[in-house]
Every structure is written in C-alpha cells, then in structure tokens.
C-alpha cells in the first residue's frame, strides 16, 4: 500500500515531466522549422541581390566596353570587342529572367520594372552608339555616348542601388520579424514549460501530501495494531502462566487423589468384606430357618455390598493407573488356561441372561507373553459387558495371533448394540450407553474405562463396532513380543 502510493507520485511526476519535455520539444521543432523557412527566404533574398548585382555589373561592363570600342582604331579589334559586347546581351537577359521569376512582392516588381526599362533604354542607346560608329561617325558616337548613354547608365546603376537597398530593407524587416517570432516562441515555450513544471510540481506536491497522509494513517493504524498485539500477547502469556499453574495444580491434585484412593483400598475393602461375608452367612442361616423375608433382605444387602466392592475396586484400579502406580508384570503363561478361568468367572453372568458362550481359540495359540492379571481383567470386563447387554443371545470370544504378529481378541455379542454417539464415549468412566441402561443392566460403568486403561498400559489398542439392535463387537489387539525395557519381570 505504502509502496504503491509512493510509486503513484513518482509516476505522476514522470508523466508531467514527459509532457513538459514533449511540449518543449514540439515548440523547438516548430521554431526550428520556422527558422528554416526564414533562412530560406533570407537566402532567396540574397540570391535576388546577387542577381541584381550581376545585372548591374553586366550593364557597367558593357558601358566600359563601349567606351573602349569607341576609342579602338583597329577595325578588326573593334569588331571582336563588338562581338564580345553583343555576347553580354543574352547573359543580361538570362539573369534578368531569373530575377524576374523570383520576384514576389509588388514593390520589388515595380522597382525591377523601372530598372529593367531603364537598362533596356541604355541598351538601345548603346546600340545607337554602335550604329553611329559603324557608319564611321566617331564623333557623333562619342557624343551620344557621353550625353545619353553614360547618364542613362548612371541612372540605371542608381536604380540598381535602390533595388538592392529595397532588398536590404526587406532583409532587415524579415530579420526583425524572425527575431520577434523567435522571441515570442521562446517566451511562449518558456511560459508553457514553466507552467508545466509548476503544474507537475503542484500535482506532485498534492499527491505527496495525500500519500503522506495515507501513510501516516497506516503508520498510526500499524502502531495501534502493534499495541493491541502486544497487549494481547501479554494477556496470552499471563493466561498461559495461569493455565500452566492450574494444570500443574490439577496434576498434583490428581496424583494426590490417586495416591489417597490407592492407600485407602485396604481400609475400604476390609469392612466391606465383612458385610459381604456376614450377610452371606446370615442368608444361609435364614434359609435354613426358612425365614424367607430375611433371606430376601440379606440377599439384597449382600448384592449391594458386592456392587459397592466392585465399584471401589474399579475406582481404585483406575486411580492406580492414573497415579502411575499400576505396574505391568509381563510373564509367559498358557492362554487357553486363562480363557478357561475367564469363562469360569463369566459363566454365572451368561446364564443369568440365558446367553450361550462360545469360544474360538486358534489351535496354535498356547503360550502368550503378557500381564496375566490385566489380560484376565480385560477379557472378563469385555465378556461381562457383552453378557450384561445381551439377552437370550450369543456371546463369542475369539482369540488368535502369534508372538511375531501380535495377539487379537474379539468379543462379539448379539445384544442391544450402541449408536455411533454412544460408541464414541463408551470408554469414558461412568458412561453407559444412556442413564437408563445403568438402572436396567446394573454395572459400575467403569469396566470399559479400565479396559481401555489396561490396553494402553499393555501398548495395545481396542476398537468397538456396533449396530443398534444387532450387537456389539470389541476388537482388542496386543503386541506380540514386548521388548521395551520398562516391562517388569515377575518377582520371586
């Protein structure tokens, strides 16, 4: 913007300069042409003068020769002189004709006419002298020469002088005109040039002032923007500092929470175990005493306490993971055996909703290297989830893979399924597909959150694919051979 405005001023100035130069050049050209014209005219006038002088010289020459002719005694010599004298006549006529053709103004022509007539008169007088001489009357010839020819000749010469004076006058007049024209042209040219210069200077000045104004505006705006930017930066910095402090505080608080929860684990579990145990025991005793009211109530206490313990366990496990106090213990173990144990644990839950459990383990799979407890918990939670949300259907666990390619577990059910929205945050703690499912299906809402945490700890990944009303499929992948030094070896 700034650059462009400055350029504009420059362009304007250059344009004005160009125009001024063009006008000046045009004026100069015109003046030169005018001058050339004048020169031509001047040269032409010079030629007139020269021609007139030549005519005058011829006339004079002839008079001189006539004098000599009159004085020459030898007839032969006289005859030659007469011939030479006669030869001057055509030359005079030729020059006269040239001059006549060039004459332009009326006064010139009049002066020339007088001159020519007088010259012709002189010419005739000379012829008369020659005729008298030819008759042998030398005295008469001399008399005519002295009395007529010479005065006429003087008059002719005088006339030529007058003609030349006229020409000179004309030249002076021309020169004066030329000077005047030249001065006028120069003046007009100078005025135009000056005016152009002033105009361009003025335009440049105006443009420059405007551009300067615009530039000042831009500069001011830039300063304002810069000030705002700096203020903004300072505020961002301050906010960032606050946020960093807040984040650090949150991390500290979260760690403290995790530690607290992990440490209170035992304190919470022991009384709950007692409640579970005693309610179980009393329920059996009530059953024996056939006190059905107590059986039902004690069963509810037992169930509630178990649910609470489950919840506490899940929360504590999550807290441990978050606090970084959940060690990963890698060990080699028999995968089919682990699966049998998982199935033993899940069997009652599958039966509760009248689901059939199917297992599909590829024959080659036997020993696997993993954290046994976590894999157990992952598979148990996935299967529990599947059994919980499936009624009168099938729950299928497939396991396969190898040490080289990694392990793949699929838990698929034919249950109620989930919408894409529900699938998105199914791994968030305390989230089930919707609030009503918790009431209908029970559960802690932490099982899948823990699954995801464990899968992350084991460097694996888990994906869910679900169609509402058709079922859900969880696909779990775990790395085959764990080579990271962070893996802990089993302690003895």
């Amino acid at each position: 913007m700034k650059r462009r405005a400055t350029d504009l001023v420059l362009y304007a100035f250059v344009t004005m300069l160009g125009l001024t130069l063009a006008v000046g050049l045009a004026g100069l050209l015109l003046l030169t042409r005018f001058h050339d014209d004048m020169q031509e005219t001047y040269a032409s006038i010079n030629l007139h003068t020269r021609l007139a002088n030549e005519m005058r010289d011829i006339v004079r020459d002839r008079s001189t020769r006539l004098h000599r002719i009159v004085l020459i005694e030898s007839p032969a010599e006289r005859a030659r002189e007469i011939a030479l004298n006669a030869a001057l006549m055509p030359r005079f006529q030729s020059v006269a004709a040239q001059l006549a053709a060039r004459l332009q103004s009326e006064p010139e022509r009049t002066a020339y006419g007088h001159m020519l007539r007088l010259a012709e008169h002189g010419w005739r007088m000379q012829d008369e002298v020659l005729a008298l001489l030819a008759q042998g009357d030398r005295n008469a010839a001399q008399g005519v020469l002295l009395n007529t020819v010479l005065p006429v000749q003087d008059e002719v010469l005088e006339r030529f002088g007058a003609f030349n004076a006229l020409q000179n006058l004309h030249i002076d007049k021309l020169r004066a005109t030329l000077d005047r024209q030249y001065r006028t042209s120069a003046l007009v040219g100078s005025v135009i040039a000056l005016l152009s210069l002033f105009a361009s200077a003025w335009i440049t000045y105006v443009l420059h002032r405007r551009v300067a104004g615009v530039e000042a505006d831009i500069e001011a705006s830039a300063q304002v923007v810069q000030r705002y930017a700096m203020q903004l930066e300072a505020r961002v910095d301050a906010r960032t500092r606050d946020l960093v402090a807040a984040r650090d505080e949150a991390i500290r608080a979260n760690k403290a929470k995790g530690l607290f929860l992990a440490n209170t684990s035992h304190e919470l579990r022991t009384p709950l175990s007692a409640i579970i145990g005693y309610s179980e025991m009393m329920r059996e005793e009530a059953e024996e005493a056939r006190d059905t009211g107590y059986v039902r109530d004690l069963g509810k206490i037992n169930q509630a306490a178990r649910h609470l313990l489950e919840l506490i366990d899940a929360i504590l496990d999550l807290a441990k993971v978050e606090a970084g106090r959940m060690p990963v213990v890698m060990q080699s173990f028999d995968l089919p055996e682990l699966i049998r144990e998982v199935l033993d644990s899940i069997h009652p839950l599958a039966e509760k909703n009248r689901n059939t459990l199917e297992v599909d383990t590829s024959a080659a799979v036997s020993m696997i290297e993993c954290d046994r407890t976590k894999l157990f918990q992952i598979l148990l939670n996935l299967l529990a989830n599947a059994c919980k949300f499936t009624e009168d259907g099938h729950v299928r666990l497939s396991a396969g893979g190898s040490r080289e390619a990694g392990w793949r577990f699929v838990v698929a059910d034919t249950g109620i399924g989930m919408t894409p929205e529900a699938q998105r945050d199914i791994f968030q703690p305390f989230v089930q597909a919707d609030a009503s499912t918790t009431r209908r299906f029970g559960g802690t809402g932490l099982g899948l959150a823990l699954v995801r945490e464990y899968v992350t700890l084991l460097d694996g990944d888990i994906h869910v694919h679900s169609v509402p009303g058709q079922g859900t499929r969880f696909t779990l992948r775990l790395p085959g051979r764990r080579t990271t030094p962070g893996a802990q070896s089993p302690q003895t």
Partner: protein
C-alpha cells in the same frame, strides 16, 4: 469328613468363612498367621488349606513355602486367597507352591466347588 485349615488374620472374615464352611459339613481348623498355619498343618493334617497371603508374623507365601517343603505336609493342596487380583501376589504364590487361587471378595459357591475339586481329584 473333609478337614480344612483356614488361615486368615481378619477375625470377621475368619468367622464368616468358618461358619459357612462348617455349615456345609466341613471340619474347620483355624490359624491367624503363617506360623500358626505351619504348626496347625503339621498337627491337624488337613485335607486342604485356605491361605490368605497377607498375614502378620509370617506371611502366606512363607507359610506355603514351608508347608510345601515339609515332607509331612507337602501333599496338602493350598488354595490361596489374594486380597486383590494382583499379578505379583499370584506369581509369588505360584513360586511358593500354591495350587490354586481365589480373589476376594470370596464367591462362596465358587470356592466350595474349588475345594471339592481339589480334595477329590
């Protein structure tokens, strides 16, 4: 009659387990710590030992190791009760000589089935 040795430091857990198991017709012996357990195993020659691992005086792993290394008691199956499904506990139990594992909270029907399987192979 199957004789079972319950090794459990928590009084309430001990009482609940013993009463429930006695009700099912088992002959119950009790021990509060690992040292008592080793001694009781020798004296009472139980058919099975239910062993909590976190115990005072002598912990469950050490007690198991001793029971499993003594010629008089090494044949007795040991069912370990781990407080929580901690893999380390389990692995340590395996090395010490535990035969089976069960995690708290005790699922009574399941533990009964396990006891039955272990005492009648």
């Amino acid at each position: 009659m199957t004789r079972i040795l319950i090794v459990e430091d928590n009084e309430m857990n001990r009482e609940v387990l013993s009463r429930l198991l006695a009700r099912r017709g088992l002959d119950v012996c009790l021990a509060e710590n690992g040292a008592e357990a080793v001694e009781s195993a020798l004296r009472h020659a139980p058919d099975i030992i239910l062993m909590d691992l976190n115990l005072p005086v002598m912990d469950g792993w050490e007690a198991t190791r001793r029971i499993k290394s003594a010629p008089e008691t090494r044949h007795i199956p040991v069912l370990c009760i781990t407080a929580h499904a901690m893999s380390e506990d389990r692995e340590r139990g395996r090395v010490a000589g535990c035969d089976e594992y069960e995690t708290k909270p005790i699922e009574f029907e399941r533990i009964l089935a396990k006891i039955d399987r272990m005492t009648h192979p």
